[in-house]
């Protein structure tokens, strides 16, 4: 992320004037998925672009340095070398946008990325992820420690207590949710968020990024997300600085699609390297 959001004075009237027509938003969500299908070599190109937006994520209780190492290697080489060669994209430096891990694993991630020779940022979830129900003092300490360890991006869990009582904070990116809820990134929610980003840009000139996370598993979905951002915000937002997809198994599905495009055959999961 290049520039930070300077922020503005909190003006709650901006929020109270907003109207959302839910059935119309649902209709628009369905339309987006149906109206902009991308096929053949253009689909392959879009899939590779989608790879560059992925925040390759692992947030499990049993993360250790070995699976972090495997993750970081996958982040550097997201698609198998021979497939990229077949597409003539092996020298374009295609990596995922970032790697996203728990604060305790930031050290391992930084080490692994250095070993593999990759300079993508390490993002850390922090502030009592995923519920955010810890003391402010420990939450701030978490962020500080993660940054000390080498994380350059932090996914902050906002204090929902404050939200529900109307006290707001600012940020550079907005994320649909932690990814650990029952319902995470859905198109109707995203449409409303993207329209809010556009309104903020029209009002203040600041560009805020967008990150859907949770439940994005298929390559087809990822293409729909790219279409959505392109339609609502335009090509300017289709950059890793302003758009991220928080996903873990998505990369495998994209790789399988690329495999199919290159070879004409459907791959099994074991044909392609694990992440």
């Amino acid at each position: 992320m290049s520039t930070h959001n300077q922020g503005t004075e909190l003006d709650l009237s901006w929020i109270s004037k907003i109207q959302v027509n839910h059935p119309a938003v649902l209709r628009r969500a369905e339309q987006i998925q149906a109206r902009r299908p991308v096929k053949k070599e253009w689909q392959a190109a879009w899939l590779l672009k989608a790879v560059t937006f992925i925040d390759l994520t692992t947030l499990s209780g049993d993360d250790t340095s070995s699976n972090i190492q495997r993750l970081c290697y996958k982040a550097k080489y997201p698609i198998r070398e021979d497939l990229l060669k077949a597409l003539n994209m092996h020298d374009k430096g295609i990596t995922t946008a970032a790697v996203c891990v728990y604060p305790a694993r930031v050290c391992d991630a930084v080490k692994a990325l250095k070993a593999v020779g990759c300079n993508i940022p390490v993002a850390s979830v922090a502030t009592g992820f995923p519920a955010g129900q810890t003391h402010l003092k420990t939450r701030l300490e978490e962020i500080r420690l993660a940054v000390e360890d080498g994380a350059t991006e932090i996914d902050v869990v906002i204090n929902r207590t404050l939200v529900l009582t109307g006290q707001w904070e600012g940020s550079d990116f907005i994320k649909t949710s932690t990814g650990k809820e029952t319902v995470n990134a859905t198109f109707p929610v995203a449409i409303v968020m993207l329209r809010a980003i556009r309104d903020f840009f029209w009002k203040t000139g600041n560009k805020i990024g967008f990150k859907p996370a949770g439940g994005i598993r298929s390559a087809k979905d990822s293409l729909a997300w790219l279409s959505l951002v392109k339609e609502e915000l335009g090509d300017e937002w289709l950059k890793p600085e302003l758009f991220r997809i928080g996903a873990s198994t998505l990369l495998s599905d994209i790789e399988r699609q690329i495999y199919h495009h290159v070879t004409g055959r459907y791959a099994a999961y074991h044909d392609l390297p694990m992440s």
Binding site: Q19, V25, R27, Q31, R35
Partner: protein, 625 residues
């Protein structure tokens, strides 16, 4: 029962769905169809071929591929019972004039313009998507008039223009395009309209990823068009959107209802009360709230005013292809030498009546307009003879000015009458019934003077009273129906009391106000009833004008502000009424010169009367938060 053979005439830009929406109900109730389609579309021919392969019933769908000029030829074929026409306004008018006097009934669905009303309480982004659906997609039937509240004008324009930039035009079958093309004729029409709008001072904005070759036309947004300019009055072609601002909801309604077109409209406002009020106030056939273009075969779709009065979908769509059981097939009754320009123009002068006989001089009746008896504009009366050749009374000689006054009075009473609860309507009709009962002897003696036997006269009065009560009860049972507005009724010469009451009651029961021309042979009975109506009814609810029937019919048929006309008179009069209704395309019901059995339940008080006295409106309100 089913109507018979239906002729279907489709315009050059019809959609397959529109065609099926008319063919399917017709077939479902047992009619057969002959469709005239433009030569460039092979799909209906394929449909007819498939239908022909169905075995035991060849010939249920027949398709003729030919130019539009064959339309009147098809429509006037003997045996065609009803013609359904779907297309442009002027062609519909021409067809209405051409079909006057022919046997077939005409159902018109004209124009394709829609309206979108964006208030300041709306989700503007979603409304912009609604505009895209309504005007810049392959599903849109035609152009769009966009009314935007002033306070959100800048926002709406900005979002519209940004959205237009993302639209993609291309070949229709490519799944990733938003809109295709509709042929060179449609493109030329759009181009002409936009050029004229520009010359009249409008701002034109076009955007989108559009192939440069014909016949693609880019999505177009026209704003700052002066309201009085000719372009603002004409129908907006596809894919043009004409945007105008409004200040208050009241102004919005005035602007929206201020065109002769009344097809479909959508209202965008998250305030439910405001949305419903606007929805109810719009004079159109279909209103969508916070959405646009929703359709369902079970919901009637149609229009009012100059968008024609035929329906498809829902029960109204089925009634288009049905007629009351027992009515005979319609035959042509065309009178080729009827001069439309001179019919009813001049009132033949009447010879003065002979000396009065009888105990007291007969008092002249005035016209019953605006709740009281008035002298006619012409300041003259005509004598009415009874069955024995004696003078029965004098009635006013009404003319064009009196018709105008009567229609105005009816309009003034219309909104408050339409707002009455069903219970109030019932109460008024029952009060009139009671008053007629009290007046029974006077009415029976007048009928006797017209040559009706006393027993039959009493029976006629009794039946009239019963009918008033029955329609009153039905008014309450049915609840709120949507009225047509001002209904003009020319009563038959026979059954001077019964027919008058049988026509009056359903019209009032469904919330209309009426202008009536009573029986020419004996208008005195109707005027007796008016004496009671003067005390019981609000002023202007019922207006009765006597005089030369042809002249009064001419005035009513040519009046642009009457919402429907029922004519029970001569064949020539019927033909004239059908011809003249092309003026504002009011729905008409004519007797074609044939008698009607008013004393029988089926013809005198059947459901047909109720159906013709009301109209339908569909209101869509999607749920969800």
């Amino acid at each position: 029962m089913r109507t018979g053979v239906i002729g279907l005439i489709l315009p050059s830009t019809f959609s397959f769905l529109e065609m099926m929406w008319r063919i399917c109900p017709a077939l479902a109730v047992g009619c057969t169809v002959v469709a005239l389609v433009p030569p460039a579309s092979p799909t209906p021919l394929l449909l007819a071929q498939l239908a022909g392969e169905l075995g035991p019933f060849p010939g249920i769908i027949n398709v003729i591929s030919g130019p539009a000029s064959l339309g009147p030829v098809l429509a006037s074929q003997p045996g065609v019972q009803k013609v359904a026409f779907c297309g442009a306004l002027e062609e519909g008018r021409a067809l209405r004039r051409a079909l006057a006097g022919e046997g077939a009934e005409l159902g018109l669905a004209l124009g394709a313009e829609a309206l979108l009303l964006l208030s300041d309480a709306a989700d503007v982004d979603s409304a912009v998507e609604g505009v895209v659906d309504a005007a810049w997609s392959d599903r849109s039937p035609g152009g769009l008039r966009l009314l935007v509240q002033e306070s959100v004008w800048e926002e709406a324009m900005r979002r519209l223009q940004a959205r237009m930039g993302r639209l993609r035009c291309g070949r229709g079958l490519d799944g990733a395009v938003d809109m295709g093309a509709r042929g060179a004729a449609a493109r030329d029409l759009a181009q002409r309209y936009v050029r004229e709008a520009q010359s009249q001072g409008a701002q034109v904005f076009q955007a989108g990823d559009v192939p440069l070759d014909s016949p693609f036309y880019p999505p177009t947004l026209v704003s700052d068009l002066p309201p009085a300019s000719p372009c603002a009055q004409a129908e907006v072609p596809w894919p043009v959107v004409v945007a105008s601002p409004f200040r208050t909801a009241k102004e919005a309604l005035a602007l929206a209802n201020g065109t002769p077109r009344g097809g479909s409209a959508s209202v965008w406002s998250e305030r439910l009360g405001q949305a419903l009020e606007l929805g109810y106030g719009l004079r159109v056939g279909t209103v969508w709230i916070n959405s646009h273009g929703l359709r369902d075969p079970a919901v009637p779709t149609g229009g009012c005013k100059e968008s024609g009065s035929s329906w498809h979908g829902g029960p109204d769509g089925l009634y288009e292809y049905l007629r009351p059981s027992g009515t005979p097939a319609r035959l042509s009754y065309l009178s080729k030498n009827l001069n439309y320009d001179s019919f009813g123009l001049v009132v033949p002068s009447a010879l003065p009546a002979g000396p009065e006989t009888g105990p007291t001089p007969a008092p002249p009746y005035g016209l019953f307009v605006g709740g009281r008896f008035q002298a006619p504009g012409a300041r003259s009366s005509r004598p009415i003879q009874d069955a024995f050749g004696n003078l029965h009374g004098y009635v006013a000689e009404g003319g064009a000015k009196d018709i105008r006054g009567a229609v105005e009075a009816a309009h003034q009473a219309a909104s408050s009458w339409a707002g009455q609860s069903p219970g109030a309507r019932r109460a008024l009709l029952w009060a009139l019934a009671a008053a007629l009962e009290r007046r029974e002897s006077a009415l029976a003696s007048r009928l006797e003077r017209q040559g009706v036997e006393l027993k039959a006269a009493k029976a006629e009065v009794e039946l009239s009273v019963r009918r008033l009560r029955a329609w009153g009860a039905q008014a309450q049972a049915q609840g709120q129906t949507l009225q047509l507005g001002v209904l003009a009724i020319v009563c038959p010469d026979e059954w001077p009391l019964l027919a008058f009451v049988s026509l009056l009651a359903p019209a009032l029961a469904h919330g209309n106000t009426v202008v009536m021309v009573p029986s020419g042979a004996c208008p005195l009975l109707a005027l007796e009833v008016c004496q009671d109506m003067a005390t019981l009814f609000p002023a202007g609810l019922v207006n009765v004008v006597t005089g030369d029937r042809d002249h009064l019919t001419r005035c009513l048929a040519l009046h642009q502000d009457i919402q429907a006309l029922w004519y029970f008179g001569s064949a020539q009069g019927s033909q004239f009424v059908e011809w003249a209704s092309a003026g504002n395309l009011k729905p008409v019901w004519v007797s074609r010169g044939l008698p009607r059995a008013w004393e029988q339940e089926a013809e005198g008080a059947g459901p047909e009367l109720g159906l013709r006295a009301a109209r339908t409106k569909a209101l869509w309100l999607p749920m969800g938060d």
